[in-house]
Subunit: 95 residues, 2 copies
């Protein structure tokens, strides 16, 4: 079953943060904020994503959280304001 | 019915960002990352939260997203790494 997967992260180091964002993109997630990605993944792909995120963070300082959001909950999502596109943040998509 | 509510934001202006974080705290949410709060809210409280967040952002640049996460989804949450506490970010709590 495919479910919405939300990844949010709080990483200070530029290189590590970039690596984590690349992992999210590799798994087909869309950037919805500077440090948040969202997309549809099967349970097995989500587990692979989590493993790849763990590897990308390694022993570096930082925090990554992965949430699953079912359709019933997802329709309740509220978006306030517009996406802020920053230099390294090309390709922000509000899905 | 009480449901987990997740607020993530991407706001450049320090004052606006602080105002948004204060709103989250006022509604009893706990900071789980620099720009992410989580907590239990009823549907009506969540609507009040959304209204307060809209007011806090006003016409300023920024993006706030509010997600509802049911218990069945919430147990699938994965947390990688430790919380990073920054200067203005005292009181980070992993719930």
């Amino acid at each position: 079953m495919v479910l919405k997967t939300l990844v949010i992260y709080d990483i200070t180091d530029d290189n590590v943060r970039l690596r984590v964002s690349e992992v999210c993109k590799d798994f087909g997630l869309c950037r919805i904020q500077k440090s948040a990605f969202l997309g549809d993944l099967t349970s097995s792909r989500r587990k692979e994503l989590v493993a790849a995120l763990r590897k990308a963070l390694g022993s570096n300082k930082g925090n990554i959280q992965v949430f699953v959001i079912c359709e019933a909950d997802f329709v309740l999502r509220v978006v306030i304001g517009e996406a802020t596109v920053e230099e390294e943040e090309e390709g922000i998509i509000i899905v």
